[in-house]
Symmetry: D2
Subunit: 337 residues, 4 copies
């Protein structure tokens, strides 16, 4: 079996997730090299997983002719530039989200990818989650019928550090962006966005210029309506639910939990909290998105989650920001695309 | 509309339940009189519900030619004798369970009822419970297929007073008798019984000659197998479940709860305990069994829960007692029938 | 025991519900008379329930000095005028919702009630639903903590006739009005409303000038945010859910179902649909609201659901209508109050 | 880090499961060699997973001084002999269940292991299942209180081939043996067994001298009572549940399912069937038991699941067989031990 030769740029948390997925679960690929500006991090991952090369400079990966595809897992601000370089080097690209926080940069990536004729898949892993993928499948099969209302709940167990909040682009670009992609995954293109936002978790988040609790109302081009509700902190953990209501029925995904045990005593019946955070809840989806990327490259298929999806999620985030700023519904067409 | 004229013998807890059911929910019947050896109790119920007559002596009910049917809600030891008298008086009879704790007495009742040509319905109200009746309906419709395993869980929130335990006939005649009837309702006739029993709740129950925790294995004539598990006390309340497994599927009934609210916090997700005890859990079933009895009398239909069902439940209870005593499976044919 | 003497104006569906509640479940009150412009309807209810008087003209109820309280269950357009007359006649008033579709009329009722010093309770029965009342109780006890997000789902099993839609005042005044009251019941006063609306169920509803699917985003004065989603038709039945998220936890109410039976076979595990419609789902709440009204009158307590609550729910509905019309968030202060 | 050097004997389904667990998930161990009498099978696994050596003859593993521990994953009839040889060769042993179908052979293994002073862990993987381990943990912490009733449901999605049934030792040694171990894991030692058994799935199983549906009642030495219900076929899939009732509460484990999605339409609310069979349901437990074994060897800890546990499970199976044969409860003391 021909194996896809892969290089990983960035050996942090998500880079390690992908490195383990490929090493342990995807026999169709092998990792030839890993790089990180903290080269000791790259070295450790390489040693643990038997990756033959590690570098400080990602250009060594781009210049390696043996490598067919790269995974861009570096810090967000470097995604677009590296992607453009990788495209020029003729590498297929798996790029972590977000591609960039500006539309112009993303369009440069789109241009570079188109010119080079390489594939680029965005790491919107939630599309590969067992629950959400099953709902998408029910919708595709026509079980739900014409969609009417799409509801997404997405809450984190803990807010990020205030230092991160300040550079994150704000809740809509940092957190809701995944939910915008889920909204488009299920409901198709969005026409208009209205966002309610508040600071209810931590005043320091407000002082940093952001909000921590939000409700985004959506009008889809199809005529369906949608709502996303976010919070930076839920005391009971990572709350990730989806409810899709249509003319033939409703599909809803409850949270995943560590066990299916119920304990009942005089205080009531107690079951588990959700799995703690994204690494626990979405672990399988990271493997599944990578498996699909590798299959697309090896077998020359279209990727289902493209840089265009990254662009549209960003535009929805910008529309939500504008909606809060001006306290009015914002048409997506108002946002450069 | 012709209304059925009813007399109630016994104005205690269950007599009041039936009196209210008829007054408030069954327009096809009216209560003409109520009696109780504590006549003040009968008087109070009569006044509260607008019943025109109350008596100390139930013979006044039996002698009232206006009355077509009687409900026997007096103490267990009087059921059989009153039923025989009522039959001789030509009254249709609704009799609370158990009819009696001896087979001979029950057979006298059967003879009296047959001779008089009156109807007698036994108050096995659980057959009318919304959950269990729905499972029976699924079985009747063939959804479950040929039955293979029937499992009944039946636990009380609190044991009865020790003084009651001593005269109750023991757990198998007092508590399991309802479950034996449920087993027969779902699975048909039983061939053999084996009972495991223990004292785990209160040593005083053991000292009173009884057990408080039991497991009864059943062989049905159909070839199916069954199990009943009982306990005199569950700290979380009244546990009443049924699980019926067959070649085409399984139906199971969870407990009913006061609300469908879930509260989740860092300690997990909490839902309600079951409804507290039989008056809460089975209230609707008391009305439904009475509605059926009145319909049977008014429209000359066969009652579905007869004195024969009372006899068979008693025989199963006696078989279970013998099984524990001799620590062996007991064929139902060993018990006089 | 002194019984409250009650007259019922309107013998239609909801009038009958209240008549039965009082007759069967509320011994502290008795119905002296019932009226309906279709006098045969009043006559039938009177005969069935043993109500001594029935009238065509409700003035006979208002003029009856024996009657202390009236229930206004006539058609919506008559509520306000009858309420004013009743107040002037010194009767305490239970008035079905909505009081009126105009603010001016409701204010006249408020004036009349205040002048006469009588009590007026509005029939927002959902506040008395076992699930929602339990969530309110959890909130009151501080279990949920400071409220952050309130989500209400409210869908009907079938749309009303088009003829009704045309005169209903529109979905926000007719259907969402209950959800606005629930939002205020849980979250307190609302500051701003934004409504998304669509016609997805039946084009004829759009032709009648209404919408059938809606999403209303709320900003509460407390800083919490909320969302209501409505649809005139859910194929699986009456969908009535509430989710209240706060800093200490989340409480959510699932739908009530006819049974708690699960049937599992090779196609999956199947449980019941929700109870069909409001008479099934909210039956107990109708009794409970009436019990409270009667208690308030008998014992001179404040009613918890006042005509002011009716006014505020109407204003929220009008704000939602304006929001859709002008496609912008609308401050409640823009609506006359 | 010192890695434990492991050899695997048997490259069939379960041997592959363990080989993958160690390769992908247990960095503390490495597989030095794998053997199988079908040497091509061993070769393929070795190549896929990068195992340096493969053999036809397991003696090459036993004779390899580099290897510290062996996994015995060959056919059941060879387990005991290989285990004895391995012990004599000074290897620590992980042995798949059952060790043997005769008590004498298991006792020889116990003797050999004791003499050699090596560790032997039995592959009762269900003890490591997330749900059951959580219940055990609740019991250990005293949450459940003194145990009163233990109920185990264990049904397969499909019966094995009749050819296998004929040599399997019968349902109690082949299938219930896992449940007997679970019963002991939770409830401690058993004193008496009574088994009800029937052929309800396939008459061919009866013709092969076995039964396919069973109910085993247990008396524990502690005074608790228990019941296991088995069936060779459930149309809805692999049914693996546990319910533990005690004086302070009840813990129960529901089945695991592929997703947590509910779809509701006019036919009701549908959720997933259980995960198909043991490889899906118990995959993580295979990794977890192996992790513990490797930890025990590396750090000289006692294994928690010993050959004694294998012996006791076998004795319970033999007691159940005798119970069915003689239709009576059988004391475990009647079975050689």
């Amino acid at each position: 079996m021909e194996k896809l030769k892969v290089g990983i740029i960035g050996a942090g948390r998500i880079g390690q997730v992908h490195a383990k997925s490929i090493t342990y679960h995807i026999p169709q690929a092998e990792i030839v090299a890993i790089s990180d500006i903290y080269v000791d991090g790259a070295k450790k991952v390489a040693e643990d997983l038997g990756i033959p090369n590690y570098y400080e400079d990602y250009h060594e990966i781009l210049n390696n002719p043996e490598i067919t595809a790269v995974l861009i897992c570096s810090s967000t601000d470097t995604h677009a530039d590296i992607a453009i370089e990788a495209a020029k080097a003729g590498k297929h690209i798996f790029c972590e989200k977000p591609v960039d926080l500006t539309i112009a940069k993303i369009k440069s990536v789109i241009d570079a990818v188109n010119e080079a004729g390489v594939k680029l898949q965005i790491g919107f892993n939630r599309r590969y989650d067992h629950n959400f993928a099953h709902i998408k499948d029910l919708a595709n099969k026509g079980k739900i019928g014409e969609l009417q209302t799409i509801k997404i709940t997405s809450r984190d167990p803990e807010p990020p550090p205030i230092s991160y909040v300040a550079v994150s682009g704000g809740i809509f670009l940092d957190m809701t962006v995944h939910d915008f992609d889920m909204a488009r995954f299920i409901g198709g293109e969005v026409e208009e966005v209205y966002a309610n936002a508040a600071v209810t978790v931590d005043p320091a988040i407000g002082e940093a210029g952001d909000v921590d609790t939000a409700l985004v109302a959506l009008k889809f081009k199809s005529g369906a309506i949608g709502v996303i509700d976010n919070c930076r902190k839920a005391v009971y953990g990572y709350d990730q639910r989806l409810e899709v209501f249509g003319k033939k029925g409703q599909a809803s995904a409850a949270n995943d939990t560590p066990t299916n045990v119920e304990f009942i005593d005089e205080n009531g019946a107690v079951t588990d909290k959700p799995l703690y955070f994204f690494l626990e809840r979405y672990m399988q989806s990271f493997t599944d998105e990578m498996t699909e990327f590798i299959d697309c490259v090896l077998n020359d298929k279209e990727t289902k989650t493209t840089v265009y999806d990254g662009l549209e999620a960003l535009r929805l985030g910008l529309a939500a920001k504008l909606s809060v700023k001006e306290n009015r519904p914002v048409k997506l067409s108002e946002i450069e695309g």
